[in-house]
C-alpha cells in the first residue's frame, strides 16, 4: 500500500466516529466532483480521440462516485453536521505545479505534458485512489455494508480505468520504455525529493559560476591579454571559405563546426 502515513492516520481517525466518517465521505465526494470538472476541461482540450475518451470516462466515473458518496454521507449524518467541506487531498500533500488535489494533471499545466508523462501521472493518480478506497473499504465498520459496497464499486471502476491507462501507456510508449519509466518515476516523486533536487541544482549552478569566475581571472588571463593586443578580427576562417573548402555536402552537414 503506497498511502502516506499521514493519510492512513487520518483515515483511521475518521472512521472512529460516525460524524467524522460522514464528513470524510463528503470530502471525498467534493474531491470527486471537482476532479470530474477538471477532467471534463482536460478532455475538451485533448486532441487525441483515445485519450479524450479515457478522460471523459474518468470524469463520468468521478461524477458517479461523487453522487454515491454524497448520498451515503447524507444517510449517516444528522442535519446539523451539514457544513462546507474542502475536497479530500488524494495526493496526501503531493500537490505541485502539475498535479491538483485529485492527483490528476492540472488544467493549466496540461499542455506541458506529453502523452507519456500525462498517462503516467494519471496512472499514479488512479493507483493512489485505489489504495485510498481499499483502505476505506477495509476500515468501514461491519455495520455499514453500504459504505463497503460503494468502495468496492469504486474500486471496480478504478481497476477498469487502470487497465485502460495501462493499455494506452503501452500504445504510446511501446518504443520508449525508458521514457515511460522516467515518467512514472517523476509522477511518483515526493515533494521533499523534488525540493532537494532543486536545491542541489541551484547550489551546483552557483558553485559552477564561482569556478568559471576564478577560471576567467586565472587561466584565461594570458589568452585574454594576448588577444587584446591583436586589433584584427579574431576570426579563424570565414563561413564562405569553410563552405568552399568542404565540398562534400553530407559531411559538411554532419559537422558541428
Amino acid at each position: 500500500m503506497s498511502l502516506r502515513r499521514s493519510t492512513r492516520s487520518r483515515l483511521y481517525a475518521a472512521f472512529k466516529h460516525r460524524a467524522s466518517c460522514a464528513r470524510l465521505w463528503r470530502e471525498l465526494a467534493a474531491s470527486e466532483t471537482s476532479g470530474a470538472a477538471d477532467l471534463r476541461i482536460l478532455a475538451r482540450r485533448q486532441g487525441e480521440t483515445s485519450l479524450r475518451k479515457l478522460l471523459e470516462g474518468l470524469a463520468k466515473d468521478a461524477e458517479r462516485h461523487a453522487t454515491a458518496l454524497r448520498d451515503h454521507a447524507a444517510t449517516i449524518e444528522t442535519s446539523d453536521q451539514e457544513d462546507t467541506v474542502l475536497p479530500f487531498d488524494f495526493t496526501a500533500g503531493r500537490r505541485d505545479e502539475t498535479r491538483d488535489c485529485h492527483g490528476f494533471p492540472r488544467t493549466d499545466g496540461f499542455e506541458d505534458l506529453d502523452a507519456i508523462s500525462y498517462l503516467a501521472t494519471l496512472k499514479v493518480a488512479v493507483q493512489g485512489s485505489q489504495d485510498l478506497y481499499a483502505l476505506c473499504s477495509e476500515l468501514s465498520p461491519t455495520k455499514d455494508p453500504d459504505a463497503v459496497a460503494i468502495c468496492q464499486s469504486i474500486l471496480g471502476d478504478l481497476q477498469d480505468r487502470a487497465d485502460s491507462i495501462d493499455r494506452a501507456l503501452e500504445k504510446h510508449g511501446s518504443d520508449r520504455p525508458l521514457e515511460v519509466r522516467h515518467a512514472l518515476r517523476a509522477a511518483r516523486r515526493s515533494p521533499f525529493m523534488a525540493a532537494w533536487k532543486r536545491t542541489g541544482l541551484r547550489s551546483g549552478a552557483g558553485f559552477s559560476r564561482g569556478v568559471l569566475y576564478i577560471f576567467y581571472w586565472t587561466l584565461m588571463l594570458p589568452f585574454g591579454l594576448l588577444s587584446r593586443r591583436s586589433t584584427a578580427n579574431p576570426r579563424v576562417r570565414g563561413d564562405a571559405d569553410q563552405a568552399a573548402s568542404n565540398s562534400d555536402l553530407r559531411s559538411q552537414l554532419r559537422s558541428q563546426y
Binding site: R44, R45, G47, E111, D112, D114, D175, R176, E179, A205, S208, R209, L212, Y213, Y216, W217, M220, L221, F223, G224, L225, S227, R228, S230, N233, P234, R235, V236, G238, D239, A240, Q242, A243, A244, L249, R250, L253, R254, S255, Q256, Y257
Partner: protein, 564 residues
C-alpha cells in the same frame, strides 16, 4: 523522406517538418508555451509536427539544426577573450549557458526529441535563412541576401541561387552586424532588444534624420558592405548591455524603460535617433543589394534575416533597389531558420528534388479545435455575414479560423478586425489588445484588385505579389487611403488578399465595399501585448476575456466577451 528542421537557443525556437521536400507542419515553440520569442529546444513544436504527420521520432530520416554550435562557440569565446577583462560578467554568464547546454546541442536534441544520434545534422545559420527565402520563393533563379544579427561568423550573406544551388558570393562577418546595431539602439531607446525592434521602426516617421552623420561615422561603408565601430557597442561580448556608454557621446543620454518617449513637440530626440537609424539601414542595405545585383545580374531578389522584418526597409528596397521582383518569406528570421535548415538539407541530400516554391503555404501550425468552448453560440448562417454586421456597427471583432501561420504575423487566420477611421485617428484596435504603444499603426487589409488600382499610380509597378506575403509600408497615391493612415508620414501597411489565397477574407472585403465607399479593413494580429499569436480556440476565448474586443468568431461559433 522525413526531415525535421529545428531552431533554438537564441530566440524564436521553432520546428518544421518536410515530407519529400514539402512543408507539412511548422510551429513556433512560443505558441505552445505562451512565452513570447521562446528560445528553448522546441519539444512541443516538434511533438506537434510529428503528430501532424502521424509519425514517431524514430521514423525521422534527418533532424537539421539551424546553426553550427562549435563554430558559434568559437566566435563567442574569441570575442570574450578579445574584450578581456571587460567581459568577466558576460563570460561567466555565457560560459555557463554554453558549457551547460548549447555546446551539447546534438545530445540535447537526441534526448529531448527522442531522435537517433546519427540523424542529427547541422546547417550553417545564414545558409539556413537563405534557403528559407529561396526555396519557398517562386523564382527559378535569384540573388539571395540575408541581413541578420549573428549566426556563427557571418552576419550578412549574399548568395547567387539557381535551381537547387545556393552559391555564396560574399559575406559580412561578426562583429559587424546591422541586426545587432538595431538591437543595441532598441535597448538605447529603452525598449527590449530582440522583441521591440519593430517599435523603433515605427518611431522613425515621427522624427528627422539629424543623427545620420553620427550613424555614418558609427557604421562606415567598407569594401564588403559596412563595418561597425566597436568602441560604441558591447554586443560582441555582452548579451545584457548591447551598447557602450560612449554611444551617449554620439546620440545623447540613453532612455530607460518608463522614461518619457520624446517623439512629439519641441524635443523629438528619440524619434530622430530612430529615423536616423532607419536611414542608415536603408543606405547600407541598399549598398549590399546593389553589390549583389552587380555580382549576380539577376532580376529577382530573396531577402531573409531579422532585418527582413523591417517593413520600411523592404519598401525602400522594392522601390529604389535594382531588382525587379522581391520575395520575403513568411518567417524571415530565426524561426524561419528551422524551415530553411530542413529545406537546405533536403536540396543538398536529394539534388534532383522538386521545389515547393509558390505552392508553399504559410498556415502550417495547429488548427482550431472542432469542439466548442463554454459560452459558444453556433451561427446559423455565414460567419462572414455576422462579422460584416458587427463591423458596420463599429465593433472590434476577432476572427480565428484554420491553422495558425508560421510567421510572426498572421496573414489572415488569427486576426482582429475593425473598420478604419477616416481621419487618421486610431480606432482603438491595438489598445483593445492591451498594447501600450498607442503610436503603433495597424495594417489595412484590401483585395488585390483594389490594391492594384489604388495603391500606386505606376502601372508598371506590380506590388501585389510582394504585398500578399510581406507587409511593407508604402505611401498610397489614393487620397481616401491616405486618410486612413495612422502614421505621421502618411504611409499605410497594406495586407493584400486575393480570392485564391483567402476567399473568405476576400469575400468579406468585397461585401464591405458594397456598404462603404472604401473596401478596406483595419487588421492586426490576434495576440495580446507580450503574448504570441493565439493558437487554439481555448486560447482565443481566454484572450477575448482579457482584451477589450467585442466578440470572437471561431469557424462558425460566436463568443461575446460579455457573455463568457
Amino acid at each position: 523522406m522525413y526531415i525535421l528542421g529545428i531552431s533554438a537557443h537564441h530566440r524564436d525556437a521553432a520546428a518544421a517538418l518536410l515530407i519529400d521536400g514539402e512543408a507539412v507542419a511548422a510551429a513556433r515553440e512560443e505558441h505552445f508555451t505562451g512565452l513570447l520569442r521562446d528560445a528553448e529546444v522546441p519539444v512541443r513544436a516538434t511533438r506537434f509536427c510529428l503528430e501532424q504527420a502521424g509519425i514517431k521520432p524514430s521514423e525521422l530520416d534527418h533532424v537539421v539544426f539551424y546553426e553550427k554550435p562549435l563554430r558559434k562557440f568559437e566566435r563567442v569565446l574569441l570575442h570574450q577573450l578579445k574584450a578581456y577583462p571587460r567581459s568577466a560578467r558576460s563570460f561567466v554568464h555565457g560560459a555557463f549557458a554554453w558549457l551547460g547546454d548549447q555546446l551539447w546541442t546534438k545530445n540535447r536534441l537526441v534526448k529531448d526529441l527522442g531522435v537517433g544520434f546519427e540523424t542529427v545534422l547541422f546547417a550553417r545559420h545564414q545558409l539556413a535563412l537563405a534557403a528559407n527565402a529561396y526555396y519557398t520563393s517562386p523564382f527559378e533563379e535569384a540573388a539571395v541576401l540575408t541581413v541578420d544579427d549573428a549566426g556563427e561568423w557571418a552576419t550578412s550573406l549574399s548568395c547567387k541561387a539557381s535551381g537547387h544551388q545556393l552559391e555564396t558570393t560574399s559575406e559580412v562577418q561578426f562583429p559587424h552586424s546591422l541586426g545587432l546595431v538595431v538591437s543595441a539602439i532598441t535597448q538605447f531607446l529603452g525598449f527590449e532588444p530582440g522583441r521591440d525592434e519593430h517599435v523603433v521602426e515605427t518611431l522613425a516617421p515621427f522624427g528627422t534624420p539629424r543623427y545620420l552623420d553620427a550613424f555614418r561615422a558609427l557604421i562606415p561603408e567598407a569594401s564588403n558592405g559596412f563595418t561597425v565601430d566597436q568602441a560604441a557597442f558591447r554586443y560582441a561580448f555582452d548579451s545584457d548591455q548591447l551598447y557602450d556608454n560612449s554611444l551617449a557621446g554620439h546620440l545623447g543620454s540613453p532612455r530607460y524603460s518608463g522614461d518619457p518617449l520624446l517623439i512629439e513637440g519641441d524635443d523629438t530626440r528619440h524619434a530622430d535617433i530612430a529615423c536616423s537609424l532607419q536611414a542608415i539601414l536603408v543606405e547600407r542595405v541598399l549598398t549590399l543589394v546593389q553589390d549583389l545585383h552587380t555580382k549576380t545580374a539577376s532580376r529577382n531578389l530573396c531577402l531573409a534575416g531579422e532585418l527582413a522584418n523591417n517593413r520600411r526597409l523592404i519598401a525602400q528596397i522594392a522601390d529604389s533597389g535594382p531588382f525587379d521582383r522581391l520575395f520575403v518569406p513568411d518567417a524571415p528570421g530565426k524561426s524561419g531558420g528551422a524551415l530553411g535548415a530542413a529545406l537546405y538539407a533536403h536540396h543538398a541530400l536529394v539534388p534532383d528534388a522538386a521545389r515547393a516554391g509558390s505552392r508553399h503555404c504559410a498556415a502550417l501550425g495547429e488548427s482550431v479545435d472542432k469542439r466548442a468552448e463554454p459560452g459558444a453560440r453556433t451561427l446559423s448562417g455565414d460567419p462572414g455575414d455576422e462579422i460584416l454586421r458587427r463591423l458596420l456597427e463599429g465593433q472590434r471583432v476577432a476572427w480565428v479560423r484554420g491553422r495558425v501561420e508560421f510567421g510572426a504575423c498572421s496573414l489572415g487566420n488569427r486576426l482582429v478586425l475593425a473598420l478604419p477611421a477616416r481621419n487618421g485617428s486610431p480606432t482603438g484596435l491595438r489598445a483593445s489588445l492591451q498594447d501600450t504603444e498607442s503610436f503603433l499603426p495597424c495594417r489595412l487589409a484590401m483585395s488585390d484588385d483594389f490594391a492594384n488600382t489604388r495603391l500606386t499610380s505606376d502601372p508598371e509597378q506590380d506590388l501585389g505579389e510582394l504585398l500578399a506575403r510581406a507587409q511593407i509600408r508604402i505611401t498610397p497615391q489614393d487620397s481616401a487611403l491616405q486618410c486612413t493612415s495612422e502614421s505621421p508620414d502618411g504611409t499605410i501597411c497594406p495586407q493584400v488578399v486575393s480570392a485564391e489565397s483567402d476567399p473568405e477574407l476576400h469575400g468579406l472585403l468585397q461585401r464591405i465595399g458594397k456598404h462603404t465607399d472604401l473596401p478596406v479593413l483595419q487588421v492586426d494580429d490576434f495576440a495580446l501585448r507580450g503574448s504570441p499569436l493565439v493558437r487554439t480556440e481555448a486560447a482565443a476565448v481566454a484572450a477575448l476575456q482579457r482584451s477589450r474586443l467585442d466578440c470572437l468568431i471561431v469557424q462558425d461559433r460566436l463568443y461575446e466577451r460579455r457573455a463568457i
